[in-house]
Symmetry: C2
Protein backbone atom coordinates (compact mmCIF):
# COMPACT_ATOMS: atom_id res chain seq x y z
CA UNK A 1 0.00 0.00 0.00
CA UNK A 2 2.37 2.73 1.23
CA UNK A 3 5.72 0.96 1.08
CA UNK A 4 7.30 2.97 -1.76
CA UNK A 5 5.97 6.29 -0.61
CA UNK A 6 6.91 5.78 3.02
CA UNK A 7 10.38 4.52 2.09
CA UNK A 8 10.98 7.70 0.12
CA UNK A 9 9.74 9.84 2.98
CA UNK A 10 11.93 8.22 5.64
CA UNK A 11 15.07 8.49 3.48
CA UNK A 12 14.50 12.22 2.90
CA UNK A 13 13.59 12.76 6.54
CA UNK A 14 16.78 11.02 7.65
CA UNK A 15 18.90 13.27 5.39
CA UNK A 16 17.17 16.36 6.76
CA UNK A 17 17.86 15.36 10.38
CA UNK A 18 21.48 14.47 9.64
CA UNK A 19 21.98 17.92 8.11
CA UNK A 20 20.39 19.58 11.16
CA UNK A 21 22.58 17.72 13.66
CA UNK A 22 25.76 18.30 11.64
CA UNK A 23 24.89 21.98 11.72
CA UNK A 24 24.20 21.99 15.47
CA UNK A 25 27.43 20.15 16.34
CA UNK A 26 30.25 20.39 13.78
CA UNK A 27 32.64 18.82 16.33
CA UNK A 28 30.93 15.42 16.36
CA UNK A 29 32.51 12.52 14.48
CA UNK A 30 30.12 11.47 11.73
CA UNK A 31 29.78 8.12 10.10
CA UNK A 32 27.30 6.85 7.51
CA UNK A 33 26.95 3.15 6.68
CA UNK A 34 24.87 1.55 4.01
CA UNK A 35 24.31 -2.11 4.62
CA UNK A 36 22.57 -4.91 2.79
CA UNK A 37 21.34 -8.35 3.76
CA UNK A 38 21.19 -10.59 0.73
CA UNK A 39 17.52 -10.87 -0.26
CA UNK A 40 16.44 -9.50 3.14
CA UNK A 41 16.73 -5.79 2.61
CA UNK A 42 19.00 -2.88 3.30
CA UNK A 43 19.50 0.06 5.56
CA UNK A 44 21.29 3.34 6.06
CA UNK A 45 22.74 4.05 9.50
CA UNK A 46 24.00 7.52 10.33
CA UNK A 47 25.75 8.21 13.59
CA UNK A 48 27.32 11.23 15.28
CA UNK A 49 29.58 10.56 18.26
CA UNK A 50 31.74 12.27 20.79
CA UNK A 51 30.69 15.81 19.91
CA UNK A 52 30.74 18.92 22.04
CA UNK A 53 26.91 18.94 22.13
CA UNK A 54 25.98 15.35 21.30
CA UNK A 55 27.46 12.34 22.99
CA UNK A 56 25.75 10.06 20.50
CA UNK A 57 23.07 10.49 17.86
CA UNK A 58 21.93 7.59 15.72
CA UNK A 59 19.48 7.89 12.83
CA UNK A 60 18.61 4.64 11.06
CA UNK A 61 16.51 3.76 8.08
CA UNK A 62 15.82 0.16 7.19
CA UNK A 63 13.79 -1.58 4.52
CA UNK A 64 13.53 -5.26 5.24
CA UNK A 65 11.55 -8.33 4.33
CA UNK A 66 11.48 -11.90 5.50
CA UNK A 67 9.42 -14.87 6.54
CA UNK A 68 7.59 -14.98 9.86
CA UNK A 69 9.48 -17.51 11.98
CA UNK A 70 8.09 -19.01 15.16
CA UNK A 71 10.34 -16.85 17.32
CA UNK A 72 9.31 -13.76 15.39
CA UNK A 73 5.61 -14.56 15.61
CA UNK A 74 5.92 -15.01 19.36
CA UNK A 75 7.64 -11.63 19.53
CA UNK A 76 4.97 -9.99 17.38
CA UNK A 77 2.09 -11.57 19.24
CA UNK A 78 3.18 -9.95 22.43
CA UNK A 79 3.14 -6.68 20.52
CA UNK A 80 -0.11 -7.23 18.64
CA UNK A 81 -2.41 -9.45 20.58
CA UNK A 82 -4.86 -10.28 17.83
CA UNK A 83 -2.21 -10.97 15.27
CA UNK A 84 -3.61 -13.69 12.99
CA UNK A 85 -0.66 -14.31 10.71
CA UNK A 86 0.84 -17.78 10.35
CA UNK A 87 4.40 -18.93 10.58
CA UNK A 88 5.77 -18.93 7.04
CA UNK A 89 4.01 -15.75 5.88
CA UNK A 90 6.14 -13.18 4.11
CA UNK A 91 6.47 -9.72 5.61
CA UNK A 92 7.78 -6.40 4.34
CA UNK A 93 8.64 -3.51 6.59
CA UNK A 94 10.36 -0.16 6.49
CA UNK A 95 11.05 2.33 9.20
CA UNK A 96 13.11 5.12 10.61
CA UNK A 97 14.37 5.40 14.16
CA UNK A 98 16.40 7.99 16.01
CA UNK A 99 18.01 8.44 19.40
CA UNK A 100 19.95 11.56 20.40
CA UNK A 101 21.86 11.60 23.69
CA UNK A 102 23.11 15.15 24.35
CA UNK A 103 26.21 15.81 26.45
CA UNK A 104 24.48 18.37 28.67
CA UNK A 105 22.63 16.67 31.56
CA UNK A 106 19.90 19.33 31.36
CA UNK A 107 19.09 18.48 27.72
CA UNK A 108 16.74 15.50 27.28
CA UNK A 109 17.40 12.36 25.28
CA UNK A 110 14.97 12.28 22.36
CA UNK A 111 13.79 9.12 20.64
CA UNK A 112 11.39 8.40 17.82
CA UNK A 113 10.53 5.51 15.56
CA UNK A 114 8.04 5.32 12.69
CA UNK A 115 7.52 2.10 10.78
CA UNK A 116 5.29 0.56 8.14
CA UNK A 117 4.53 -3.14 8.11
CA UNK A 118 2.86 -5.44 5.55
CA UNK A 119 2.11 -9.12 5.96
CA UNK A 120 -0.28 -11.13 3.78
CA UNK A 121 -2.94 -8.56 2.95
CA UNK A 122 -2.69 -6.57 6.14
CA UNK A 123 -0.75 -3.33 6.61
CA UNK A 124 -0.28 -0.86 9.41
CA UNK A 125 1.85 1.93 10.83
CA UNK A 126 3.46 2.01 14.23
CA UNK A 127 5.77 4.35 16.05
CA UNK A 128 6.05 7.23 18.45
CA UNK A 129 8.17 10.02 19.85
CA UNK A 130 9.19 10.26 23.50
CA UNK A 131 11.43 12.26 25.79
CA UNK A 132 13.84 11.00 28.47
CA UNK A 133 15.29 13.90 30.43
CA UNK A 134 17.49 13.41 33.49
CA UNK A 135 16.02 16.66 34.84
CA UNK A 136 12.36 17.34 34.14
CA UNK A 137 11.58 20.98 33.31
CA UNK A 138 7.89 21.78 33.49
CA UNK A 139 8.05 24.26 30.60
CA UNK A 140 9.81 21.76 28.37
CA UNK A 141 7.37 18.98 29.25
CA UNK A 142 4.41 21.22 28.43
CA UNK A 143 5.97 22.46 25.21
CA UNK A 144 6.75 18.90 24.11
CA UNK A 145 3.35 17.40 24.94
CA UNK A 146 1.47 20.34 23.47
CA UNK A 147 3.37 20.07 20.20
CA UNK A 148 2.35 16.42 20.00
CA UNK A 149 -1.24 17.24 20.90
CA UNK A 150 -1.36 19.75 18.09
CA UNK A 151 0.14 17.37 15.55
CA UNK A 152 -2.06 14.37 16.44
CA UNK A 153 -5.30 16.09 17.33
CA UNK A 154 -6.75 15.78 20.83
CA UNK A 155 -8.37 12.36 20.53
CA UNK A 156 -5.35 10.59 19.06
CA UNK A 157 -3.05 12.45 21.43
CA UNK A 158 -4.93 11.22 24.50
CA UNK A 159 -4.86 7.65 23.26
CA UNK A 160 -1.25 7.70 22.06
CA UNK A 161 0.18 9.45 25.11
CA UNK A 162 -1.45 6.95 27.44
CA UNK A 163 -0.09 4.12 25.27
CA UNK A 164 3.36 5.70 25.37
CA UNK A 165 3.23 5.84 29.12
CA UNK A 166 2.35 2.17 29.30
CA UNK A 167 5.13 1.29 26.91
CA UNK A 168 8.11 3.16 28.36
CA UNK A 169 7.58 1.74 31.81
CA UNK A 170 10.41 -0.17 33.52
CA UNK A 171 8.55 -2.79 35.57
CA UNK A 172 11.54 -4.01 37.62
CA UNK A 173 12.21 -0.40 38.71
CA UNK A 174 8.60 0.71 39.04
CA UNK A 175 9.39 3.86 37.11
CA UNK A 176 9.09 5.46 33.70
CA UNK A 177 12.08 5.81 31.41
CA UNK A 178 11.19 9.44 30.87
CA UNK A 179 8.20 11.74 30.57
CA UNK A 180 6.31 9.96 27.81
CA UNK A 181 5.14 11.35 24.50
CA UNK A 182 3.20 9.33 21.95
CA UNK A 183 3.19 5.67 20.95
CA UNK A 184 0.90 3.76 18.61
CA UNK A 185 0.68 0.54 16.64
CA UNK A 186 -1.70 -1.26 14.25
CA UNK A 187 -2.74 2.09 12.87
CA UNK A 188 -4.52 2.17 9.49
CA UNK A 189 -4.27 5.80 8.50
CA UNK A 190 -3.26 7.82 5.49
CA UNK A 191 0.52 8.11 5.16
CA UNK A 192 0.19 11.91 5.28
CA UNK A 193 -0.88 11.70 8.91
CA UNK A 194 2.28 9.79 9.85
CA UNK A 195 4.44 12.23 7.89
CA UNK A 196 2.86 15.13 9.74
CA UNK A 197 3.43 13.59 13.19
CA UNK A 198 6.99 12.55 12.34
CA UNK A 199 7.85 16.02 11.04
CA UNK A 200 7.22 17.62 14.44
CA UNK A 201 10.59 16.22 15.50
CA UNK A 202 12.65 18.92 13.83
CA UNK A 203 11.10 22.07 15.35
CA UNK A 204 10.59 20.38 18.74
CA UNK A 205 14.18 19.18 18.89
CA UNK A 206 15.55 22.58 17.83
CA UNK A 207 13.54 24.32 20.51
CA UNK A 208 14.41 21.89 23.34
CA UNK A 209 18.11 21.95 22.49
CA UNK A 210 18.21 25.74 22.21
CA UNK A 211 16.81 25.92 25.74
CA UNK A 212 19.22 23.46 27.38
CA UNK A 213 22.29 22.59 25.39
CA UNK A 214 24.46 25.40 26.76
CA UNK A 215 23.08 25.42 30.31
CA UNK A 216 25.88 25.24 32.91
CA UNK A 217 26.10 21.95 34.80
CA UNK A 218 27.95 20.36 37.71
CA UNK A 219 29.60 16.99 38.30
CA UNK A 220 26.54 15.97 40.29
CA UNK A 221 24.31 16.78 37.29
CA UNK A 222 26.52 14.63 35.10
CA UNK A 223 26.46 11.76 37.60
CA UNK A 224 22.66 11.81 37.77
CA UNK A 225 22.53 11.80 33.97
CA UNK A 226 24.78 8.72 33.94
CA UNK A 227 22.49 6.92 36.38
CA UNK A 228 19.47 7.74 34.19
CA UNK A 229 21.44 6.53 31.15
CA UNK A 230 21.80 3.21 33.02
CA UNK A 231 18.00 3.03 33.23
CA UNK A 232 17.83 3.80 29.51
CA UNK A 233 20.07 0.80 28.83
CA UNK A 234 17.95 -1.41 31.10
CA UNK A 235 14.78 -0.44 29.28
CA UNK A 236 16.26 -0.94 25.83
CA UNK A 237 17.86 -4.31 26.53
CA UNK A 238 15.21 -5.83 28.82
CA UNK A 239 11.89 -4.25 27.83
CA UNK A 240 12.02 -2.75 24.35
CA UNK A 241 10.14 -4.80 21.75
CA UNK A 242 11.85 -2.95 18.89
CA UNK A 243 15.27 -4.06 20.10
CA UNK A 244 14.03 -7.61 20.69
CA UNK A 245 12.46 -7.66 17.21
CA UNK A 246 15.82 -6.63 15.78
CA UNK A 247 17.70 -9.30 17.71
CA UNK A 248 15.16 -12.04 16.96
CA UNK A 249 14.28 -11.29 13.32
CA UNK A 250 17.96 -11.49 12.31
CA UNK A 251 17.36 -9.24 9.32
CA UNK A 252 18.87 -6.22 11.05
CA UNK A 253 22.43 -5.12 11.71
CA UNK A 254 23.63 -5.30 15.28
CA UNK A 255 25.52 -1.98 15.30
CA UNK A 256 22.43 -0.22 13.96
CA UNK A 257 20.10 -1.86 16.48
CA UNK A 258 22.32 -1.02 19.45
CA UNK A 259 23.19 2.52 18.33
CA UNK A 260 20.32 3.54 20.63
CA UNK A 261 22.47 2.81 23.69
CA UNK A 262 24.12 5.85 25.26
CA UNK A 263 27.87 6.29 24.90
CA UNK A 264 28.35 5.96 28.65
CA UNK A 265 26.19 4.73 31.53
CA UNK A 266 26.56 3.98 35.19
CA UNK A 267 25.15 1.59 37.77
CA UNK A 268 25.62 2.16 41.45
CA UNK A 269 24.41 -0.30 44.02
CA UNK A 270 21.54 1.32 45.98
CA UNK A 271 22.10 4.72 44.41
CA UNK A 272 20.56 7.44 46.59
CA UNK A 273 18.80 10.36 44.97
CA UNK A 274 20.08 13.20 47.13
CA UNK A 275 19.59 16.57 45.41
CA UNK A 276 16.34 18.50 45.33
CA UNK A 277 16.12 18.62 41.52
CA UNK A 278 16.92 14.91 41.19
CA UNK A 279 14.26 14.04 43.77
CA UNK A 280 11.68 16.20 42.00
CA UNK A 281 12.45 14.52 38.66
CA UNK A 282 12.36 11.05 40.24
CA UNK A 283 8.88 11.77 41.63
CA UNK A 284 7.76 12.44 38.06
CA UNK A 285 9.39 9.22 36.76
CA UNK A 286 7.45 7.39 39.49
CA UNK A 287 4.08 8.90 38.48
CA UNK A 288 1.26 6.43 37.76
CA UNK A 289 1.31 4.70 34.38
CA UNK A 290 -0.87 6.18 31.68
CA UNK A 291 -0.89 9.73 33.01
CA UNK A 292 1.70 11.18 30.68
CA UNK A 293 -0.81 13.65 29.22
CA UNK A 294 -0.97 15.43 32.59
CA UNK A 295 2.53 16.70 31.82
CA UNK A 296 0.97 18.84 29.08
CA UNK A 297 -0.95 20.78 31.69
CA UNK B 1 17.79 -32.64 51.22
CA UNK B 2 20.69 -30.18 51.53
CA UNK B 3 18.84 -26.91 52.09
CA UNK B 4 19.93 -26.27 55.68
CA UNK B 5 23.50 -27.40 55.19
CA UNK B 6 23.97 -25.48 51.96
CA UNK B 7 22.41 -22.34 53.43
CA UNK B 8 24.88 -22.45 56.29
CA UNK B 9 27.78 -22.95 53.90
CA UNK B 10 26.89 -20.03 51.62
CA UNK B 11 26.44 -17.63 54.54
CA UNK B 12 29.88 -18.52 55.93
CA UNK B 13 31.43 -18.42 52.49
CA UNK B 14 29.96 -14.96 51.87
CA UNK B 15 31.43 -13.65 55.14
CA UNK B 16 34.85 -15.09 54.26
CA UNK B 17 34.87 -13.39 50.84
CA UNK B 18 33.68 -10.08 52.27
CA UNK B 19 36.57 -10.17 54.77
CA UNK B 20 39.05 -10.93 51.98
CA UNK B 21 37.88 -8.06 49.75
CA UNK B 22 37.79 -5.58 52.66
CA UNK B 23 41.37 -6.58 53.35
CA UNK B 24 42.44 -6.20 49.70
CA UNK B 25 40.80 -2.78 49.29
CA UNK B 26 40.23 -0.79 52.49
CA UNK B 27 39.35 2.30 50.38
CA UNK B 28 36.14 0.79 48.94
CA UNK B 29 32.79 1.94 50.32
CA UNK B 30 31.09 -1.05 51.91
CA UNK B 31 27.44 -1.67 52.39
CA UNK B 32 25.58 -4.69 53.74
CA UNK B 33 21.81 -5.10 53.39
CA UNK B 34 19.60 -7.74 54.84
CA UNK B 35 16.28 -7.96 53.09
CA UNK B 36 13.14 -9.99 53.54
CA UNK B 37 10.14 -10.77 51.40
CA UNK B 38 7.15 -11.61 53.51
CA UNK B 39 6.72 -15.40 53.33
CA UNK B 40 9.03 -15.57 50.27
CA UNK B 41 12.43 -15.62 51.87
CA UNK B 42 15.34 -13.37 52.65
CA UNK B 43 18.79 -12.42 51.51
CA UNK B 44 22.02 -10.71 52.47
CA UNK B 45 23.60 -8.41 49.89
CA UNK B 46 27.11 -7.13 50.41
CA UNK B 47 28.63 -4.59 48.08
CA UNK B 48 31.94 -2.75 47.78
CA UNK B 49 32.04 0.27 45.48
CA UNK B 50 34.33 2.95 44.24
CA UNK B 51 37.52 1.53 45.73
CA UNK B 52 41.09 2.02 44.63
CA UNK B 53 41.26 -1.61 43.48
CA UNK B 54 37.62 -2.58 43.01
CA UNK B 55 35.12 -0.55 41.03
CA UNK B 56 32.31 -2.77 42.23
CA UNK B 57 32.08 -6.09 44.05
CA UNK B 58 28.75 -7.65 44.91
CA UNK B 59 28.32 -10.79 46.99
CA UNK B 60 24.73 -11.97 47.48
CA UNK B 61 23.13 -14.75 49.39
CA UNK B 62 19.45 -15.49 49.03
CA UNK B 63 17.11 -18.09 50.47
CA UNK B 64 13.76 -17.98 48.70
CA UNK B 65 10.64 -19.99 48.17
CA UNK B 66 7.52 -19.58 46.11
CA UNK B 67 5.03 -21.13 43.77
CA UNK B 68 5.89 -21.98 40.18
CA UNK B 69 3.98 -19.46 38.06
CA UNK B 70 3.44 -19.85 34.33
CA UNK B 71 6.03 -17.19 33.56
CA UNK B 72 8.51 -18.84 35.89
CA UNK B 73 7.90 -22.30 34.43
CA UNK B 74 8.50 -20.95 30.93
CA UNK B 75 11.76 -19.42 32.17
CA UNK B 76 12.82 -22.64 33.87
CA UNK B 77 11.90 -24.83 30.94
CA UNK B 78 14.30 -22.98 28.72
CA UNK B 79 16.90 -23.70 31.38
CA UNK B 80 15.97 -27.29 32.07
CA UNK B 81 14.44 -28.89 29.01
CA UNK B 82 13.01 -31.94 30.68
CA UNK B 83 11.53 -30.06 33.57
CA UNK B 84 8.35 -31.90 34.53
CA UNK B 85 7.02 -29.69 37.29
CA UNK B 86 3.55 -28.19 37.11
CA UNK B 87 2.39 -24.65 37.55
CA UNK B 88 1.38 -24.31 41.18
CA UNK B 89 4.16 -26.46 42.64
CA UNK B 90 6.09 -25.03 45.55
CA UNK B 91 9.82 -24.46 45.20
CA UNK B 92 12.63 -23.70 47.65
CA UNK B 93 15.98 -22.39 46.61
CA UNK B 94 19.12 -20.93 48.09
CA UNK B 95 22.24 -19.63 46.48
CA UNK B 96 25.25 -17.39 46.51
CA UNK B 97 26.45 -15.23 43.66
CA UNK B 98 29.38 -12.89 43.22
CA UNK B 99 30.70 -10.44 40.67
CA UNK B 100 33.91 -8.46 41.14
CA UNK B 101 34.80 -5.72 38.65
CA UNK B 102 38.36 -4.50 39.35
CA UNK B 103 39.47 -0.97 38.46
CA UNK B 104 42.59 -2.14 36.63
CA UNK B 105 41.81 -3.06 32.99
CA UNK B 106 44.39 -5.86 33.15
CA UNK B 107 42.62 -7.58 36.05
CA UNK B 108 39.70 -9.82 35.00
CA UNK B 109 36.12 -9.60 36.16
CA UNK B 110 35.30 -12.73 38.16
CA UNK B 111 31.83 -14.19 38.54
CA UNK B 112 30.44 -17.22 40.28
CA UNK B 113 27.09 -18.55 41.33
CA UNK B 114 26.17 -21.69 43.24
CA UNK B 115 22.57 -22.57 43.96
CA UNK B 116 20.44 -25.36 45.36
CA UNK B 117 16.88 -25.95 44.17
CA UNK B 118 14.04 -28.14 45.43
CA UNK B 119 10.64 -28.57 43.84
CA UNK B 120 8.19 -31.36 44.61
CA UNK B 121 10.51 -34.29 45.36
CA UNK B 122 13.31 -33.26 43.03
CA UNK B 123 16.47 -31.42 44.05
CA UNK B 124 19.61 -30.32 42.27
CA UNK B 125 22.61 -28.01 42.32
CA UNK B 126 23.58 -25.53 39.64
CA UNK B 127 26.25 -22.94 39.24
CA UNK B 128 29.66 -22.13 37.90
CA UNK B 129 32.67 -19.84 37.96
CA UNK B 130 33.87 -17.87 34.96
CA UNK B 131 36.36 -15.19 34.01
CA UNK B 132 35.80 -12.08 31.86
CA UNK B 133 39.09 -10.29 31.26
CA UNK B 134 39.39 -7.31 28.89
CA UNK B 135 42.93 -8.50 28.15
CA UNK B 136 43.51 -12.25 27.97
CA UNK B 137 46.79 -13.39 29.51
CA UNK B 138 47.75 -16.92 28.53
CA UNK B 139 49.32 -17.68 31.91
CA UNK B 140 46.24 -16.48 33.78
CA UNK B 141 43.89 -18.46 31.54
CA UNK B 142 45.92 -21.63 32.10
CA UNK B 143 46.16 -21.08 35.82
CA UNK B 144 42.40 -20.47 36.08
CA UNK B 145 41.29 -23.43 33.98
CA UNK B 146 43.79 -25.78 35.61
CA UNK B 147 42.57 -24.82 39.08
CA UNK B 148 39.03 -25.69 37.99
CA UNK B 149 40.17 -28.93 36.38
CA UNK B 150 41.83 -29.95 39.63
CA UNK B 151 38.78 -29.09 41.73
CA UNK B 152 36.22 -30.82 39.48
CA UNK B 153 38.22 -33.76 38.24
CA UNK B 154 38.95 -34.20 34.53
CA UNK B 155 35.62 -35.68 33.42
CA UNK B 156 33.42 -33.09 35.11
CA UNK B 157 35.79 -30.30 34.08
CA UNK B 158 35.52 -31.22 30.39
CA UNK B 159 31.74 -31.32 30.59
CA UNK B 160 31.34 -28.17 32.69
CA UNK B 161 33.82 -26.05 30.75
CA UNK B 162 32.11 -26.87 27.46
CA UNK B 163 28.76 -26.03 29.06
CA UNK B 164 30.18 -22.75 30.36
CA UNK B 165 31.37 -21.85 26.91
CA UNK B 166 27.91 -22.49 25.49
CA UNK B 167 26.31 -20.42 28.23
CA UNK B 168 28.43 -17.25 28.22
CA UNK B 169 28.02 -16.75 24.49
CA UNK B 170 26.57 -13.48 23.19
CA UNK B 171 24.68 -14.57 20.06
CA UNK B 172 23.98 -11.08 18.68
CA UNK B 173 27.72 -10.30 18.84
CA UNK B 174 28.99 -13.74 17.85
CA UNK B 175 31.45 -13.65 20.70
CA UNK B 176 32.07 -14.96 24.21
CA UNK B 177 31.67 -12.72 27.22
CA UNK B 178 35.05 -13.89 28.48
CA UNK B 179 37.27 -16.96 28.57
CA UNK B 180 34.86 -19.46 30.10
CA UNK B 181 35.32 -21.53 33.21
CA UNK B 182 32.74 -24.01 34.48
CA UNK B 183 28.94 -24.11 34.37
CA UNK B 184 26.53 -26.86 35.38
CA UNK B 185 22.91 -27.47 36.25
CA UNK B 186 20.60 -30.33 37.30
CA UNK B 187 23.47 -31.86 39.22
CA UNK B 188 22.67 -34.49 41.86
CA UNK B 189 25.87 -34.71 43.84
CA UNK B 190 26.94 -34.65 47.45
CA UNK B 191 27.00 -31.13 48.87
CA UNK B 192 30.70 -31.60 49.71
CA UNK B 193 31.54 -31.62 46.01
CA UNK B 194 29.86 -28.24 45.50
CA UNK B 195 31.59 -26.80 48.57
CA UNK B 196 34.94 -27.96 47.22
CA UNK B 197 34.41 -26.40 43.79
CA UNK B 198 33.07 -23.15 45.26
CA UNK B 199 36.00 -22.86 47.64
CA UNK B 200 38.50 -22.59 44.77
CA UNK B 201 37.34 -19.00 44.34
CA UNK B 202 39.41 -17.61 47.19
CA UNK B 203 42.91 -18.84 46.23
CA UNK B 204 42.22 -18.32 42.51
CA UNK B 205 41.00 -14.77 43.03
CA UNK B 206 43.93 -13.90 45.31
CA UNK B 207 46.43 -15.18 42.77
CA UNK B 208 44.85 -13.46 39.74
CA UNK B 209 44.54 -10.14 41.55
CA UNK B 210 48.10 -10.29 42.88
CA UNK B 211 49.28 -10.68 39.29
CA UNK B 212 47.30 -7.80 37.76
CA UNK B 213 45.82 -5.36 40.21
CA UNK B 214 48.84 -3.03 40.31
CA UNK B 215 49.90 -3.38 36.67
CA UNK B 216 50.32 0.05 34.98
CA UNK B 217 47.67 0.93 32.40
CA UNK B 218 46.89 3.58 29.80
CA UNK B 219 43.77 5.48 28.79
CA UNK B 220 43.42 3.12 25.82
CA UNK B 221 43.46 0.13 28.19
CA UNK B 222 40.72 1.76 30.24
CA UNK B 223 38.65 2.51 27.13
CA UNK B 224 38.87 -1.08 25.94
CA UNK B 225 37.82 -2.24 29.41
CA UNK B 226 34.76 0.05 29.20
CA UNK B 227 33.77 -1.41 25.82
CA UNK B 228 34.07 -4.94 27.24
CA UNK B 229 32.01 -3.83 30.24
CA UNK B 230 29.32 -2.84 27.72
CA UNK B 231 29.32 -6.41 26.42
CA UNK B 232 29.04 -7.62 30.02
CA UNK B 233 25.88 -5.52 30.45
CA UNK B 234 24.46 -6.83 27.16
CA UNK B 235 24.99 -10.42 28.23
CA UNK B 236 23.52 -9.92 31.69
CA UNK B 237 20.42 -8.03 30.56
CA UNK B 238 19.67 -9.88 27.31
CA UNK B 239 21.03 -13.42 27.73
CA UNK B 240 21.50 -14.31 31.37
CA UNK B 241 18.88 -16.72 32.71
CA UNK B 242 19.80 -15.97 36.31
CA UNK B 243 18.96 -12.29 35.83
CA UNK B 244 15.74 -13.15 33.98
CA UNK B 245 14.79 -15.60 36.72
CA UNK B 246 15.27 -12.82 39.25
CA UNK B 247 13.19 -10.36 37.27
CA UNK B 248 10.41 -12.88 36.52
CA UNK B 249 10.16 -14.76 39.82
CA UNK B 250 9.60 -11.51 41.74
CA UNK B 251 10.97 -13.02 44.92
CA UNK B 252 14.27 -11.23 44.56
CA UNK B 253 15.41 -7.67 45.27
CA UNK B 254 16.17 -5.54 42.24
CA UNK B 255 19.31 -3.87 43.65
CA UNK B 256 20.73 -7.28 44.51
CA UNK B 257 19.92 -8.75 41.10
CA UNK B 258 21.49 -5.86 39.21
CA UNK B 259 24.54 -5.49 41.45
CA UNK B 260 26.26 -7.67 38.81
CA UNK B 261 26.32 -4.72 36.39
CA UNK B 262 29.62 -2.85 36.23
CA UNK B 263 29.83 0.63 37.72
CA UNK B 264 30.54 2.13 34.30
CA UNK B 265 30.22 0.91 30.72
CA UNK B 266 30.50 2.32 27.24
CA UNK B 267 28.95 1.77 23.83
CA UNK B 268 30.51 3.20 20.71
CA UNK B 269 28.89 2.85 17.34
CA UNK B 270 31.08 0.56 15.19
CA UNK B 271 33.91 0.51 17.71
CA UNK B 272 37.17 -0.50 16.02
CA UNK B 273 39.58 -2.75 17.85
CA UNK B 274 42.86 -1.07 16.98
CA UNK B 275 45.64 -2.17 19.35
CA UNK B 276 47.58 -5.41 19.05
CA UNK B 277 46.66 -6.67 22.53
CA UNK B 278 42.98 -5.80 22.05
CA UNK B 279 42.94 -7.62 18.70
CA UNK B 280 44.59 -10.69 20.22
CA UNK B 281 42.04 -10.78 23.04
CA UNK B 282 39.14 -10.27 20.62
CA UNK B 283 40.33 -13.28 18.57
CA UNK B 284 40.03 -15.35 21.73
CA UNK B 285 36.52 -14.00 22.49
CA UNK B 286 35.56 -15.02 18.94
CA UNK B 287 36.85 -18.61 19.34
CA UNK B 288 34.40 -21.41 18.56
CA UNK B 289 31.82 -22.19 21.22
CA UNK B 290 32.54 -25.12 23.51
CA UNK B 291 36.33 -24.93 23.26
CA UNK B 292 36.98 -23.15 26.53
CA UNK B 293 39.05 -26.07 27.85
CA UNK B 294 41.69 -25.38 25.20
CA UNK B 295 42.58 -22.29 27.22
CA UNK B 296 43.93 -24.64 29.89
CA UNK B 297 46.60 -25.87 27.49
Amino acid sequence: MYKTEFTEFICEFQAEIVAMIADMDPTAEYRRDEWERERNGYGISCCFQNGENFEKAGINVSVVNGIISEALLRQMQSEKREFKVNVGSAFRACGISLVVHPVNPHAPTTHFNYRYFEVDNVWWFGGGFDLSPAYVYKDDAEFFHNALKEACGEAYYLKFSEWCDQYFWIPHRDEHRGIGGIFFDDLNVDVEFIKKIASTYIPVFRELMSRRIKQPYTDLNREWQQIRRGRYVEFNLICDRGTKFGLVSKVGRIESILVSLPRTARWEYCHKVIGEEETRSMTIFKRPRGTSYTLAQ
